[in-house]
Subunit: 734 residues, 2 copies
């Protein structure tokens, strides 16, 4: 088995291909297909549970083409997933050629593939001619001929640049992709008085249960739990499996799939992975199970970012956050590993941001963005949720800023346009978005009533930012008309925000406006977003800090999801000390409850099994939810204080803040390097192996640096330009 | 083998399901998937040759639902193609249940299926609960829940009515569909002096070559020909197969597929069917082939229409036309059986019209219309051809008129709207269509220069008719706003036709208008369409007859494709005698050249192997092309003279015309009956088992009828109202 994993490792290395050749496909199509595999693995108590939004699919016929200019003749090897043909200078070759001799000189090579079940992909390997992202692809080559046999010269075919990942070997067929596996043993197993055995794997995990040395005949039932209560509650646990053991074979009763037992040790590993810490297994008397273990399933990731400090609780928060991120970073960034295991745009944008401070795994970001967008026509908001559409736009520009990957924006831009067309087709007479039939206006899971009617200030703020994002991306791809159009729309909407939603008495944006009337309610959402979008002047931002953000009478946020933005807003206002206390109270609170990964929702006022319930179900809550891991992001961006100022960290900003810690140390990854920070109450050390930028320091006297000149910015603020990888050591006074 | 065919026969019976249960799917999706199988079977000299337009695919996740109201509990059986779940009143059942017990009372039953490779389909059989077209389907159920677990009540899901055909048995899985097969033997075989054997199957046919009593080892090559010249031309024949025989197995070298030989008689039948009359087979010396035969592949059709007359040449024309139609009526109506075997809208609309006078096979019409439309977004014209988009619109209303199937129009209407949106998005400032980059302006394969630039009068006439069709369909589905919109657009365009294209000197529509300037050219196309669309007054129609239709100096039409409309226009102008001569000369001409099916193109001025060439290839021409069969339509509609006046023959019009024949007799099918006509130069007999309508008679004196009263319409025209199935016998004077 070891050898198999080694081979897979090649396919799973995370950087984009550096080989001369790789499997290629229509951009976004493999991602959408793989996403369907992922989204359709959800089960609920043994029932298959696909998403309720439109599931798109790949183009089933795709043409790949490449213009060649060969100094000498060359033989190429061709592999494809699907039925295919090959044309050289318009001349079809016999059959599905595995090899082709290309003559020297200028030539056109075309390969066309049909595949209904999995995306059409090809792999070409020659001395100089290799399949890679320099190939063009289209789903519609429009190569008609006239009566004389002459091909049309006005076909207007739309070509894209081929998509790829890291399937660099001829036998690494993209449709055969799977994550890595590693056997793990339970740390404890307890016979239960009512029968059956409870296995504890020590912490939240994800994988396939393996049963060894099976013998006898009869039913086996497996109940999964993120808590022991859940695993032992046969009637209400969220996931389960039922098997029928017979001599030499075993049947998964949910999917009616029968497999032979592994000969040597009568072993069986389940076909679908599950999330759990505990597993409760019962069986009929005729069955014997020798051993229970699991195959941990994961995407190999390098932990390029890290954080350590003097506070062990905070260190543990960072570690559990990183583990939570790793469990939810899979084929895609998913929300939580237990329940739906789906890809959600609002969850994903937070995963991306955390990822930039942990794995810097661009491929997973791009896969997830492609999948969430899907195909045209747009028939609903992203995951049906209005706010999630807006996060999707924002995530594209975030990705560009962190990665500097303009090519991706180019590839995606046409689908950004059609997505925005959908939104613009659903605005009201004020140019604002309101929930229409079919729109899920989500905002947050709140412990209290959230009005979703009329114009929500929160949705307008996100809409405005999305329009600004469209303008920025239009500029990136050279769409001058689009830039102008989106800028105009964004400016018009932005100009309406204060007149419509700002309430002078409340010194805040109200929650919504129905039929032109401001509601009485103030919620945190629009207010905190306008802070870090800088949609309000400094006075109003400070006003919001007190009237909303630090005001306990405003409906509290009980999801880490919105805490992410709430705490980001406070950090942006310089409240690192207050946020540090909140982090320790909130995420520390989960740790005290025994969390080994962070939760979907946490209300410190609840206790015991109350923490497990959600959606009216006793174990409905996910105890490993990506949005629970936000300290990863906050600590990197607002304590280590590192962020890109120009795309791909060509320029960075470093503004470290101890927030009450004695010392901290950590690394923030950049596309091809990293920025290492150490800080205590006297010294700051910075080593940036890539990029240039300012280190900004709060100090009561002029700091001193080993290299470079410190400039004063304001009374207590100083800055140092960093433009080389040598470590800067700065002394300052807190 | 016989038994297998018998079972398939059930699946292939042509009427819509009359069973209590049938396999169901998302409407159009199965049709699109099956069409992909069909369109991707084209090969060119052993190379796979898929279409150059966008190949759409099915929705991969589909939900089927049914509201139940059961008098008593009932057990149902469930089968599905794909991974599925079942919900009763929102509660998911364990696994993929094969049976479910439904309690008495009102309940909601939902079944959701995921299938990437083939369309999600289901089959439900109970005492009263059965899958049929009363089920609703959606690709997006938008069933989100709030935090309490409550499902949304504003999901705005768009439901369609389930699609089905005739897969009425639980084991008749739609994805397993195949046409019927019947073994056929060659009528002659000739050893060739240069080696190899030429087999003649006696007439144009379609199927799979079978090789029997194979022995030895080596390559076998099979060259197909519609003519002996083609089959024997190894270098230029259009289709071929290459096989490698080895002990006990044989490999198709084009698709690299190895099969064992049939044990008992070392037999092998090829995987892909081909069109041919002749097959030339060569092999390496080590190979022995005992016997060559074929499996004729066909869609079983009942010949509901027929025609006989005193002229044996015309009878033969009808028979060869019917055979041509049968060969090209397959999973879909295809253009020709040899070369591309694709589904083309302009070809299909003629097949539909012929079909109404031959098979009246509505299912094949509907399948073809669904496939040709495909899915949104629309990225090109139908088959990339502008005119073909317009024929597609026209074909929908034609189908409604002949079948009376309003349900189909309802199902299709949303895709008619988006198709028309595409067209309207490509009009110029005059509201007219011009060929833009990416538009194939086809018109016809002409033996002379056809200008495709600017505003073609022909395209505007078709566009105008398409807008009128949209208005009619909008009314049918109750879209009052759409009706108004399309009527307005149609009227505006129609009002521009004469001012833009009518040339007083030429007494005709000119061919095109470039930059506001009429061209000098007059072609037949727009002129003949305006005749049977009645876009011009009687005087202008008569003018066209002489200035264009009967004017030999106007570019001649050499495809049966446009002859269809040319002769229809002449018939509509009462020129049955002239058209009869043309039919005998043109189709009779092909018969004299040895045609056993009608051709893609026929120019009487060519001779010998000139008849085989097209597209710059010596055997490029298809000798079995659906559009070659138009006498089927002309004889039914303009000689037997039967057509629907109200949808589904609720009212018919019968206007028989001998056109110079001594006598004729025939049957025209109606949805649930038929109309039988006999006519000689003294007597007309009509028996209509369905519908009501006028029999119109040209007679120099008042005709006499056995039933009913003859009314006078004009000087030499009389009519008789028919409203019962008894045979009417009318005597008249020619």
């Amino acid at each position: 088995m070891k050898k198999k994993y080694m081979i897979l490792l090649g396919a799973l290395s995370l950087a984009s291909s550096t080989f001369a050749q790789t499997w290629i496909w229509y951009p976004g199509d493999y991602e959408i297909w793989l996403g369907n595999q992922m989204n359709n693995r959800r089960t609920e108590r043994g029932a298959f549970f696909p998403p309720f939004w439109k599931t798109d699919s790949h183009y089933v016929v795709v043409e790949f083409s490449k213009q060649l200019n060969l100094a000498e003749p060359e033989e190429i090897f061709i592999a494809a997933e699907g039925k295919y043909n090959a044309k050289l200078d318009g001349k079809l070759q016999f059959g599905m050629p595995e090899t082709m001799l290309l003559p020297a000189g200028k030539h056109n090579l075309n390969i066309k593939v049909w595949n209904q079940a999995t995306p059409p992909t090809i792999y070409v390997k020659g001395k100089t001619v290799n399949s890679d992202s320099s190939w063009r692809v289209t789903y519609e080559d429009k190569e008609w001929i006239d009566e004389s046999g002459k091909a049309s010269d006005t076909s207007a075919t739309v070509y894209m640049v081929a998509g790829c990942w890291n399937f660099d070997g001829a036998t690494q067929r993209p449709s055969q992709f799977s994550l890595m596996r590693e056997p793990q043993q339970p740390v404890a197993q307890t016979e239960q008085s009512e029968g059956g055995t409870l296995y504890d794997f020590g912490k939240e995990t994800f994988g396939f249960i393996t049963l060894k040395n099976l013998s006898g005949k009869g039913k086996i039932e497996i109940y999964y739990g993120e808590s022991p209560e859940e695993a032992k509650d046969k009637a209400y646990c969220e996931t389960l499996d039922k098997l029928l053991l017979e001599p030499g074979q075993i049947t998964d009763l949910a999917i009616r799939s029968t497999s032979p037992l592994n000969n040597s040790d009568n072993e069986y590993t389940l076909e679908n992975s599950k999330a759990f810490r505990y597993v409760y297994i019962t069986h009929e008397p005729g069955v014997k199970i020798g051993e229970v273990s699991m195959q941990y399933e994961y995407l190999p990731e390098e932990y390029r970012g890290n954080f350590r400090c003097n506070d062990e609780e905070l260190n543990r928060i960072w570690e559990v956050g990183a583990y939570t991120m790793h469990l939810t970073t899979r084929e895609f960034f998913i929300d939580g590993i237990k329940r739906d295991r789906w890809i959600w745009s609002g969850d994903a944008i937070q995963s991306y941001l955390m990822n930039y401070y942990l794995f810097f795994d661009n491929e997973s970001v791009k896969r997830t963005i492609w999948l969430l967008r899907g195909k045209d026509p747009v028939t609903s908001h992203s995951n049906t949720i209005m706010d999630y559409t807006f996060y999707w736009f924002l995530s594209v520009y975030d990705y560009y800023m962190y990665s500097g990957d303009r090519h991706f924006v180019n590839q995606l831009y046409p689908r950004m346009q059609t997505m925005m067309d959908y939104v613009l087709g659903r605005t009201n007479k004020n140019g604002m978005v309101e929930g229409m039939t079919g729109d899920w206006v989500f905002v947050d899971w709140a412990d209290g009533y959230l009005d979703k009617k009329g114009e929500l200030s929160f949705e307008q703020v996100l809409f405005c930012r999305s329009l600004e994002t469209m303008a920025l991306c239009a500029e990136l791809v050279g769409d001058a008309i689009g830039k102008q159009k989106y800028e105009k729309l964004a400016a018009a909407l932005k100009a309406k925000l204060e007149p419509t939603f700002w309430n002078i008495q409340k010194q805040a944006f109200v929650h919504n406006c129905v039929n032109g009337q401001q509601s009485d309610a103030v919620t945190r959402y629009a207010n905190m977003f306008s802070v870090f979008f800088q949609y309000l002047n400094g006075d109003k931002q400070q006003a919001i800090k007190h009237s909303v953000l630090l005001n306990d009478s405003i409906l509290k946020i009980t999801t880490p999801y919105m805490r992410f933005y709430e705490l980001e807003a406070l950090c942006a206002l310089g409240e690192q000390n207050a946020v540090m206390k909140e982090m320790k109270a909130y995420w520390g609170g989960m740790l005290k409850e025994g969390a080994t990964s962070f939760w979907e929702k946490y209300n410190p006022e609840e206790s015991g099994t109350q923490h497990l319930a959600m959606y009216g179900r006793p174990y409905g809550k996910s105890l490993c939810h990506a949005w629970g891991a936000s300290p990863i992001y906050l600590l990197g961006k607002y304590y280590l204080g590192v962020k890109p100022v120009k795309e791909g960290y060509k320029e960075f900003a470093i503004t470290p803040a101890l927030g009450g810690l004695k010392w901290m140390e950590g690394t923030v990854p950049t596309p091809n390097g990293n920025i290492h920070i150490y800080m205590d109450n006297k010294t700051i050390k910075v080593k940036a192996t890539e990029g240039k930028g300012y280190l900004t320091i709060k100090s009561r006297r002029q700091p001193k640096a080993n290299i470079g000149t410190i400039e004063q910015v304001s009374a207590d603020t100083w800055r140092l330009w960093i433009d080389s990888p040598e470590e800067r050591t700065v002394t300052y006074r807190l």
